[in-house]
Amino acid sequence: MARIIGGITTSHIPAIGAAISAKRCDDPYWKPFFDAYPIARQWLDTMRPDVAILVYNDHGLNFFLNQMPTFAFGAAEEYHNADEGWGLAPRGPYPGDPALSWHVIEQVMAENFDLTTCQEMLVDHGFTVPMSLLWQDKTPCPVRVIPVAVNTVQHPLASPRRCFQLGQAIGRAVASYPENVRVVVLGTGGLSHQLDGERAGFINRSFDRYCMDKIVNEPEALLDLSIHDLIEQAGSQGVEFIQWLLMRGALSPQVRLVHQNYHIPISNTGSGLMVLESAA
């Protein structure tokens, strides 16, 4: 049977991808950020996941305001990245696992979650930066991937509680898959940052630390937050924390904190790396 081995959270801002491309990972500015990742990669080497379900938000590569799905679930054989307009070199492609995608889609739809299914889907930096950080753009890609794109562009957004509940349904769906597949779930984006308006540059260390503390084994404490609360506390792009909650929902109720690192700032953002291992 398939099993979710655990989850990883990571920021996914484009500046990380630019630093990797420019080989600036050892610069004093970036080193405290990148130095946290080898432990996460070692954990992946030990745990040997076959599939990564990668929860992220599209920033205007695949989806536009003409059609904006709240939850878009990848079901493709392969996923491609492309030019996003500001100079990050495209990565990939990434192999999919459409059989597992459709199994999860069928199961969570049967639990009354309404997904958009995507047999073609460009994945943007929100997807590729975590892949570069965790699998270092190895070819062939060491894992099959299932992208799950959460709308954070067009309000209203799905609530933190709804995202967590969808994660729980995804966890049950994976557990019912008859193949022997090991799955890691990545919750990407965040933590606090705001790019737009007179409050641009807003960042909130104490709220980020609170979220990282609670998400380990008390995620329920975060589920009464509204999107408005998240904007207020974490900035307008800090709402990406809903992707962390979706990831967390897919893991076992209690998890083991394997590794964490909080670093502030990278570009305009508070960065949180966490490795959470599901109970066996």
Partner: protein, 117 residues
């Protein structure tokens, strides 16, 4: 019972809701087109013609002319699409953060570093 929508104002922040989406559709559609290199080149070659093609209104056209992010937001722009417009000029999110807060880029970066303690 209808749901209560929380609209408490947050300083310097305008969530991109339906009102903004309606107001900014043409502007955002143009900026979305800048994912493609040939469209970025077409904009640079003839800015007026490119803006006309997408049907920008006067406020949007002026905001594009001024390269002013706060004006673009006020005209209904969404920051993710506007970032592609800024990218044409090699500007990143720290450059546009500085512009919106009236700071120099160095001062804006210093403010973020200070948040790190």
């Amino acid at each position: 019972m209808p749901a209560t929508i929380d609209r408490r104002p947050i300083f310097g922040t305008c969530p991109f809701d339906g009102t903004q989406a309606r107001k900014g559709y043409a502007l955002n559609k143009m900026c979305f087109s800048f994912n493609q290199a040939n469209n970025r080149a077409a904009f640079l070659k003839d800015e007026d013609a490119y803006c006309r093609r997408f049907g920008l209104n006067t406020a949007q056209r002026e905001a594009i002319r001024h390269r002013n992010v706060l004006e673009l937001l006020a005209a209904g722009g969404n920051i993710y699409y506007l970032a592609k417009f800024a990218g044409i000029f090699g500007l990143n999110v720290q450059d546009i953060g500085a512009q919106q807060t009236g700071m120099s880029v160095d001062a804006f970066k210093a403010k973020l570093l200070k948040a790190g303690g």
